[in-house]
């Protein structure tokens, strides 16, 4: 889960990383008050989309009046599909230099990775590899101060700035561990009047670890429908085609989309009904697919833990309650296959054995393909 900038900065500050003074505001009046204390100030929309500045989500104010004016412009605005409900009023800083530092997980090494560069700022993705310092941390032993100093030195820094950056790197790693982060990124980390300050920060918390971090405000991501399906507990992504898809297991769901596309079809969604879905969630998932009003529905199940009879019963349940008003193609093999096929047959639904045949059929009944 991504944290809003103000929360991310709050976490950095708790761990002793310098951040500009700031205050979260919900109304133009609050912003006017805040700007009286923090001036000159940047008024920043709190939404989780990149490129806020360019889209008009960051404006500057020196007086309460200016604060009120820019706040009324930003609050309520639609920023790339998100309505701005809160702004962060933050002291504007004079930037002398911009650095980049982050802590993340290196999936290949299976260790935390610190990345740092003296060439920071928004263009970091274009910085050449040779200007990016990468060091792994042995999580069993943690971050040592020598390692942090090493990284700062390798960035090409010296003197007091090097010392400050080294301390920040050490604390960055503390944040990474303490907050169960997938990513902590300070970009840019700036030098302003001799002080190194985190000017912008990103903190993504591992969803799987949220049980250890209660009380965080939930940030809704994705479309309304995606959020609704997420509440059922299923992985779901909307796509722009018109064949609704359900499969079990993420890999299988991806392969199913690939197969449809291979035969010229256009999948409407990615839906992983889970490796061991029982009747009820499967029926709910089917209900969602029906509600999408697709041209066809393709169910592709290879029963492992998932039992084919459970899937068949879920389909029958939906057919009897809400009806399935579009062509349905089912591919069903694996555990309790015969039971599942029989249940469907009694309802007049045929099931395929071969994935390729079933995918072709789904594309054909949707009126697509070559």
């Amino acid at each position: 889960m991504k944290l809003y900038e103000y929360l991310a900065k709050g976490r950095l500050k708790e761990h002793g990383i310098p951040v500009p003074p700031g205050r979260l505001c919900h109304t133009a009046d609050e912003v006017a008050e805040a700007v009286k204390e923090i001036s000159p100030a940047a008024v920043k929309a709190q939404v989780l989309v990149g490129g806020r500045g360019k889209a008009g989500g960051i404006k500057f104010a020196e007086t309460a009046e200016e604060g009120r004016k820019v706040a009324s412009e930003i609050l309520g605005m639609n920023l790339k599909g998100y309505i701005v409900e809160q702004v962060y009023v933050e002291g504007k800083i004079d930037v002398e230099r911009e650095f980049y530092v982050s802590a993340t997980v290196d999936r290949n090494e299976r260790r935390p990775l610190i990345m740092a560069s003296a060439h920071g700022g928004v263009e970091i993705e274009d910085v050449e590899d040779k200007y990016i310092v990468r060091r792994h941390v042995d999580e069993a032993f943690g971050m040592s101060s020598y390692l942090a100093r090493d990284i700062a030195a390798e960035m090409g820094l010296s003197g007091d700035i090097k010392e400050q950056v080294a301390q920040i790197i050490q604390k960055l790693y503390e944040v990474f561990r303490a907050e169960d982060a997938e990513l902590v990124e300070i970009n840019p980390l700036v030098v302003s009047q001799g002080k190194v300050i985190a000017a912008d920060a990103r903190l993504n918390i591992d969803d799987a670890a949220l049980f250890r971090h209660k009380g965080l405000p939930e940030v809704a991501e994705g479309t309304e429908l995606e959020q609704r399906v997420k509440e059922i507990g299923l992985a779901f992504v909307q796509l722009d085609g018109d064949i609704a898809v359900m499969a079990n297991g993420a890999g299988m769901a991806m392969a199913t989309l690939d197969a449809l596309q291979h035969f010229g079809g256009r999948p409407a969604n990615f839906l992983d009904a889970g490796g061991g879905a029982s009747v009820e969630p499967t029926a709910q998932a089917m209900g969602v697919l029906v509600g999408m009003k697709p041209k066809a529905i393709f169910v592709n199940i290879f029963g492992g833990i998932t039992r084919c009879d459970d899937v068949a019963n879920a389909i029958v349940q939906v057919k009897r309650s809400t009806g399935i008003p579009v062509p349905l193609v089912v591919r069903l093999v694996g555990t309790n296959e015969q039971e599942g096929v029989d249940i469907l047959r009694r309802e007049g639904i045929d099931a395929f054995r071969e994935m390729s045949e079933a995918a072709q059929r789904a594309v054909a009944v949707a009126g697509e393909g070559r």
């Binding site: 290196d106 169960d180 997938e182 990124e185 990103r202 799987a208 299988m252 197969a259 694996g334």
Partner: protein, 288 residues
Amino acid sequence: MAIIIGDETRVVVQGMTGNQGSFHTGQMLAYGTKVVAGTSPSKAGQEHQGLPVFASVREAVQERGANASIIFVPAAGAKDAAFEALDAGCKVVVMIPEHVPVQDSILIVEYARFKGAVLIGPNTFGLISPGKSKMGIMPNHIYKPGPVGLVARSGTLSYEIAAALSDAGLGQTTAVGMGGDPVVGQVFNDVLHLFERDAETKACVLVGEIGGSAEEEAAEFIKTMTKPVVAYLAGRAAPAGKRMGHAGAIIERGRGTLESKRLALEAAGATVVEMPWEVAPAVKKLLG
């Protein structure tokens, strides 16, 4: 031969008395896996599925000679369970749970390295050496003994491919689930090393996915392999994966896409097929 598990594997099931643990203990026993004990702190001293339930893995090792553990405890307790198994001397630890915090997984991987144990998962379907032993939740009937080494990220997709291989008369030495999480014990590279050394494995199948760069890493090793490798990569039509700020983009630097994986694998000499049902015919062709 097979890799990682075989006739000598003696399994303790951590969390044996829960729903999943209980069901899959039965399935493993039915397959012929030498399951020797289970653990459950609250049900120690009882019998379950005809096996003794101990309070700790250490007792299962001492009293029943367990040398491998499969973990079915909830994600929040998975790290502790894994440490317990590694500490008790289990040389193979299979972690079924999904949603294990990644920082826990990093520590588990480190500890497994330190103990010289093979860690499979978390978020894996496990592994199976057909005809010998299985530690996992895969269906029993789709595998056959034979010459193909199979390694996959994803469960159901690998079942699909294993079943197609078996139907084509291409049995497997071992099928290994790498696990779907960002941080897992054994990656493609590690498993391919084992298959390369295994005398009975004549060809390898790699079932990869978009995201991460384990496939690209594997390609580096495939260059040096003497055995043919067939790869299927899922995710051609999939939505772009979760992009982790700039850091993700910098780490991968253009890797992690399906195209980069395909190019890397092909350059290494692997046969990359487009659809899952093309895997078995491709293996058949390579084995002649």
